[in-house]
């Protein structure tokens, strides 16, 4: 009995790894393809049958940075995404503190209103927002993107930070209060430093979502004075074969690396951040 159970456990482990290997294959194969795509000439990107082992060349890596306004795209991405995270923190930290630490009428309604904006359909608000920025003369301006990204991410940033603030022991705050500190002072000197991992998690997630944003960026920016990498790579076309896939692969890999590093930094907090704080570790 015991022996047969051990045997079945052994075979179930093999089956388990087999299933995981299948998914790993599906998951990683396109990434490997992307890497080889970035290391081949353009004539080898779209042929029948597909070429899996190309003539390796760094041509695409050079072309991408020489033929396209990559530095402008990088600058715009950087300015708009970092700026949006700063706006989010400025608005979300006080809001999260208010939701986490005060009892007042309407608090839950306000909090869940903020949360529900995470569920807005971007395309459904695109037209009014486009016209708003048109009237403000902010079209094709990274500032407009910054404001949009901040709005998109504000709900998640607020709720993630709130979920960490609510776990700061009240006794520590009360001790500071006895020493005569007021709420704002306690927020800045006690609560905020103690919920710093929430602030970092929220900032990194907001940064990634901002860099990835496509729809509003497509509508609001149309030259390299505002276009970001996300939309800029859709402009990589030319010649008889249209889309220049190997250059797009380069951009995909160039942006993947910092995203991966940032995610590694918060990997323990990732599931909590993605559920807006609903899942505690």
């Amino acid at each position: 009995m015991a022996k047969s159970r051990r045997v079945s456990q052994h075979s179930s482990r093999i089956g388990r790894y087999l299933l995981l290997a299948c998914w790993a294959f599906f998951c990683l194969l396109p990434i490997v393809w992307l890497v080889t795509l970035s290391l081949r000439g353009r004539t080898e990107t779209m042929v029948n049958p597909p070429i899996y082992w190309p003539h390796f060349t760094l041509e695409a890596w050079r072309d991408t940075f020489e033929n396209w306004p990559m530095w402008a795209y990088l600058r715009n991405t950087f300015v708009a995404a970092i700026g949006s995270v700063l706006i989010d923190l400025l608005l979300a930290i006080p809001a999260a503190y208010s939701l986490a630490r005060f009892q007042y009428r309407g608090r839950d309604q306000i909090g869940f209103y903020i949360l529900s904006t995470r569920m807005i359909v971007p395309a459904a608000v695109a037209l009014p927002i486009y016209i708003l920025f048109k009237n403000l003369h902010l079209l094709d301006n990274p500032v407009a993107l910054m404001l949009i990204y901040a709005a998109i991410n504000l709900s998640i940033v607020t709720w993630v930070i709130r979920s960490y603030m609510i776990e700061v022991p009240r006794e520590i705050e009360e001790a500071a209060r006895v020493d005569g500190a007021r709420s704002i002072g306690i927020l800045l000197r006690v609560t905020l430093p103690l919920s710093i991992s929430g602030v970092v998690t929220a900032s990194i997630l907001a940064l990634i979502f901002a860099v990835n944003e496509f729809l509003f960026t497509l509508l609001i920016s149309y030259t390299d004075s505002a276009q970001t990498l996300s939309v800029g790579l859709a402009m990589f076309t030319g010649g008889s074969k249209g889309i220049i896939y190997n250059d797009i692969a380069v951009v995909a890999l160039v942006t993947f690396v910092p995203m991966f590093i940032l995610t590694l930094l918060i990997q323990r907090h990732l599931s909590r951040g993605l559920t807006m704080g609903a899942l505690k570790n």
Partner: protein, 311 residues
């Protein structure tokens, strides 16, 4: 069900703390939260009112100031011209199949790894697709399905899986499937990460007890771990479904609604009508309908799933 019982014992110290907080003005919490709320009203309330107003006019981007009042004309047009309803149906088919497949895969994978000694490694590996820029991912899948040079076709033919090349671009079902495959590749990690996190956060004592009682691994997962996971599964599915329903980037890059509008999602419909055909009135009417549904769904999801988990 949605309200959490609060014991009076827990409330009393909180009240006392509140009284001691005498030196904070009563308006302070409102002042702290007001800027965020005002900012968010700018992307929710303002667009809704503006779209509602525009939806009653024949209006074009190319001729500003030439709006003419048409009453509910734009709305009746939406239902008379089949494109909008078709886009609703496409959205349900495409996002429904994507989320269903992602859910089954993510739950299965999470169940397979969460007690594995190399769980961290699996997590980082399976996470990778989510970290590529969505527009780049869309171009990559467009190329993998491209007619005449499709890697997907080539792999399936050479492994004997299929006798001939499939037309991923011209066949409506296959075109939809190509969007689903790309979405599953990109977003299964989202659900997977949440499920693994939730399973790891669970107290393993119950599982151990069940195993001592002779339950098999899959029985333990199915009957002990999974039921405890239901609240977080619901939240993860709500978030993923919303993002899937709003699918735009993939459609814009991979199919542009082809063939014959069979892959046109609601988001892409609004974009095409409003920004390609400059018919702001019709796009506004569609936006209003989508927003009304969104508000209703968000209200329900928040009170049913988020409130109990987060209060």
């Amino acid at each position: 069900m949605s309200s959490v019982p609060v014991s009076t014992a827990a409330v009393q110290p909180a009240r006392a703390a509140l009284r001691r907080r005498g030196h904070d003005p009563r308006w302070l919490p409102y002042a702290l939260v007001a800027p965020a709320v005002a900012y968010l009203l700018g992307i929710t309330l303002y667009p809704f009112i503006y779209a509602l107003y525009k939806s009653f006019y024949q209006s074009s981007f190319t001729m500003p100031g030439m709006d003419t009042f048409v009453g509910f004309g734009n709305y009746t047009d939406l239902f008379r011209n089949g494109d909008f309803l078709a886009s609703v149906l496409n959205t349900l088919i495409i996002s429904g199949s994507s989320v269903l497949a992602e859910f089954v895969l993510a739950l299965g994978l999470a169940a397979l790894v969460y007690r594995d000694p190399w769980v961290k490694g699996w997590r980082m590996m399976f996470l990778a697709p989510m970290l590529f820029m969505p527009s780049a991912v869309s171009f990559m899948w467009k190329l993998l399905f491209v007619p005449g040079a499709s890697v997907v076709n080539n792999l399936m033919e050479s492994t004997g899986f299929l006798p001939q090349a499939l037309n991923w671009v011209g066949n409506p079902t296959l075109a939809r499937l190509s969007l689903v495959v790309a979405d599953v590749w990109e977003w299964t990690p989202f659900l997977f990460l949440i499920f693994v996190g939730a399973l790891q956060a669970q107290n393993s004592d119950l599982e151990e007890a069940a195993k001592v009682d002779g339950a098999r691994n899959w029985q333990v997962f199915w009957q002990v771990s999974l039921p405890l996971l239901r609240p977080i599964i619901a939240i993860a599915l709500v978030l993923r479904s919303i993002d899937a329903v709003t699918m735009f980037t993939k459609v814009y890059v991979m199919t542009q609604g082809a063939p014959a509008g069979d892959t046109e999602t609601v988001s892409y419909f609004i974009y095409r009508v409003g920004f390609n055909q400059f018919d702001a009135g019709t796009a506004a009417a569609a936006s209003v309908l989508v927003l009304i549904v969104t508000i209703a769904v968000a209200q329900y999801a928040v009170s049913r799933y988020f409130r109990p988990a987060m209060e």
